[in-house]
């Protein structure tokens, strides 16, 4: 009896493996290997900013994940953000969204008063099957975001089959129903010609993954967001690279190549 069942399972797995409903691969090989393919599509994911200054990095990381989730689908991203955050780190700027690969026209933005409203809007959006991804930003130790609230979000994500991201600033990681939890810090970018800042780079720590390999220590990665590919890329560092211009060479490329590529950059 078990044999036909197993073969059925296998054939089903073959038939559906191509459907991206299971996981969202991040694109960086070492990450995806550790995650077992990627993060759960129908799940709740948290990105904590390590310090207040890392707030744009945490939100940027979540937005990049959302971009991965939306890839190919003509579905909108819904973004709920408490007003207080815009005073803290500025208001979302659409050309900047385009610069990380999201289509500003496909983003609906909800300016809410507080965390409670952000969560209400997030649940409402997360339940809607035609929303491709939901991003909720929270500011400070938001008491409204408790186990119940996170479970409600996780449930909404599971029913609608689209991810919900919660980006948090000024809060320490706490237990929740999240499928994955990340701590995000801005990382020095790979410099371009004339020591210009390059693509967005992050140092990310995986604090938790539901159903992930048990007993493993939390992992740390340095990744860079490649907008053109819409994927994260692994980056290797040595300790000395943190603050010197010397180490900021393109990985797997010679400095000369990088320089000639960027030589024609202009402004206008």
């Amino acid at each position: 009896m078990t044999q036909p069942l197993a073969s059925l399972r296998q054939s089903l797995a073959c038939a559906y493996s191509a459907v991206p409903s299971e996981t969202i691969a991040l694109g960086a090989e070492s990450l995806d290997r550790r995650l077992g393919g990627g993060i759960l599509r129908a799940g709740l994911h948290e990105a904590y900013a390590e310090t207040a200054a890392d707030a744009p990095a945490a939100t940027g990381f979540a937005l990049a994940l959302a971009r991965r989730a939306l890839a190919g689908a003509e579905k909108p991203l819904l973004w709920a953000r408490p007003e207080a955050l815009s005073a803290e780190s500025g208001a979302p700027y659409p050309p900047g969204l385009a610069d990380i690969g999201l289509d500003p026209a496909a983003v609906a933005f909800i300016r809410v008063r507080d965390a409670k409203e952000a969560l209400q809007a997030g649940v409402e959006a997360g339940r809607c099957a035609t929303v491709g991804a939901t991003l909720i930003e929270l500011f400070g130790e938001a008491r409204a975001y408790d186990l119940t609230a996170s479970r409600r979000l996780a449930l909404a994500a599971a029913t609608a089959g689209a991810p919900i991201f919660v980006a948090r600033v000024g809060a320490s990681p706490a237990p929740s129903a999240a499928a994955s939890r990340w701590l995000v810090r801005a990382a020095p970018s790979r410099a371009l010609a004339a020591n210009a800042p390059g693509s967005a780079a992050f140092t990310i720590f995986l604090l938790r993954q539901r159903g992930g390999a048990a007993g493993q220590e939390s992992h740390e990665w340095r990744v860079e967001w490649n907008r053109d590919r819409g994927a994260f890329e692994d980056r290797t560092f040595d300790a000395s690279s943190l603050s010197g211009p010397v180490a900021s060479l393109p990985v797997g490329g010679t400095p000369g190549e990088g320089a000639s590529q960027r030589a024609g950059r202009k402004f206008g």
């Binding site: 990049a64 909800i110 020095p188 211009p245």
Partner: protein, 454 residues
């Protein structure tokens, strides 16, 4: 009579300061209450209301019965009223205030108003005195004179009033609120108290209104549910949809959201007499077959979500990004209501291979920073923002953005901005600018932090 005289006559007289504002508020509340009889209600200062009962009277069993019904409702609220029914607003006012209350049969306004004293004209005192001296005591006396002579003697205004009171000239009232596109209501013999069953009352009402709209080939954009309480209070809930809609369940859901977001919950008090559902605004909506085109249904879903969020948080909070043709980085993007009509997408795609040139978050207004630069026109070596010093490891710029001189020509002087992309040693990326060209525009350029990159 002076107050002292009045007190001498009635020692127990209670005295209060006149408060015209409060009186007006009271009249407005009474007007709202009277909207249960007809949607066309206007204030008639100083202390009257005028109701246009055209096409409504039959609902109450005729004009006489309607008049009685209104007086009774007023009496229940402890108001004594005088009410008349006549062909024109002015005749009605004159009859109610100076004549016989009651119903004037159609076309007989003049017969009923002729015996009224000239006080009914409410003309200035000298006019009244002059008329009385001339031996004219009733409106009838006046009406028999040549109007040219009277106009010459007493002015246009008095004569216009006369012709209107006599019903020779008609004037419409200007209602407090515009007439809705469509309106349905339930009246209850017993006051309706059960809030939990309110949706069961609203559902058939909304369905009925949607039926009316469907026959017209329209869908509603703005809606209102009105609850008339027995004690005269009126509660109104307004909501809107982004696109014309005839979806009863979606509208009920919006109503529910709106009711939940109320600061004071809907309080039936001693009960609701009348529940009314109005479509305030309707637009053409083609008859459609639901479930045929999946694409439409999907778009409908997001539109539906936007409506629900707008009902809960207010439409100024549910937004999308709009783009403008300008090189001014601030004016290039704005926020508009998510369901407002959109232009074709014209967001510029970033060039492949470029790093992000525009920040993810933008400060408005830009934040002043203290900088230290090697050369006056070079990028900063470090800057201080919010009491934290950022040591710059990488920099690119300047990207010079000149002010749009054709704009704000008279306003404050706008200076050229040199923008730099900076990255500090920890990897935080910033968008800063130096305002004013060194030496040519200013001797000490100021620096601002304008945005943050991911």
């Amino acid at each position: 009579m002076t107050l002292a005289d009045a007190r001498a006559r009635a020692p127990h007289l209670s005295v209060a300061q006149a408060d015209p504002d409060a009186d007006e508020r009271l009249m407005l509340r009474l007007a709202a209450f009277c909207e249960q009889f007809t949607p066309l209600v206007a204030l008639d200062p100083p202390c009257g209301l005028i109701l246009d009962a055209t096409g409504c009277a039959h609902l109450f069993g005729g004009e006489a019965a309607m008049r009685a019904c209104i007086l009774q409702a007023m009496a229940r609220l402890s108001f004594t009223g005088r009410a008349a029914v006549a062909g024109t607003p002015d005749a009605t006012r004159a009859l109610a205030r100076f004549g016989q209350e009651g119903v004037t049969p159609p076309g007989e306004d003049e017969i009923f108003t002729r015996p009224l004293s000239i006080a009914a004209l409410e003309a200035p005192k000298e006019t009244s005195v002059a008329l009385t001296r001339a031996g004219l005591t009733t409106l009838g006396d006046l009406a028999d004179r040549s109007s040219a002579a009277l106009t010459a003697r007493f002015g246009d205004e008095t004569m216009r009033r006369l012709t209107r009171i006599l019903g020779r000239e008609d004037a419409r009232i200007t209602p407090l609120r515009p007439l809705p596109e469509c309106m349905v209501e339930r009246r209850f013999a017993e006051p309706f108290l059960d809030l939990s069953a309110i949706e069961n009352v609203l559902r058939p009402l909304i369905a009925e209104a949607m039926g009316i709209l469907e026959r017209r080939g329209e869908g509603g954009r703005a809606f209102e549910a009105r609850f008339f309480r027995t004690d005269g209070a009126v509660a109104a809930l307004n909501f809107e949809t982004g696109a014309p809609s005839r979806n009863v369940e979606a509208l009920l859901r919006l109503f529910r959201l709106k009711a939940e977001s109320l600061a004071d919950p809907l309080d039936p008090g001693f009960g609701f007499d009348v529940i009314r559902f109005c479509v305030l605004n309707a637009e053409t909506l083609a008859q459609s077959q639901i479930g045929f085109e999946r694409q439409d249904a999907q778009e409908g879903d997001v539109a539906d979500l936007v409506d629900r969020l707008a009902a809960r948080f207010g439409r100024e909070r549910v937004l999308r990004f709009a783009t403008h043709e300008t090189h001014d980085p601030v004016r290039a993007a704005s926020y508009v209501y998510a369901a407002s009509p959109s232009k074709p997408n014209s967001w510029e795609k970033p060039e492949p291979g470029e790093p992000p040139l525009r920040p993810l978050f933008l400060f408005d207004p830009p934040q002043p920073i203290d900088t230290m630069a090697e050369t006056p026109d070079g990028p900063p070596m470090h800057f201080k923002w919010r009491r934290v010093r950022h040591m710059i490891a990488r920099a690119e710029g300047p990207e010079r953005i000149a002010p749009e001189w054709w704009r704000n020509a008279v306003g404050r002087d706008r200076r050229t901005r040199d923008y730099y992309r900076l990255e500090d040693r920890e990897g935080h990326r910033f968008w800063v600018f130096r305002e004013g060209l060194y030496e040519s525009e200013t001797a000490a350029p100021r620096w601002f932090l304008h945005g943050l990159f991911a």
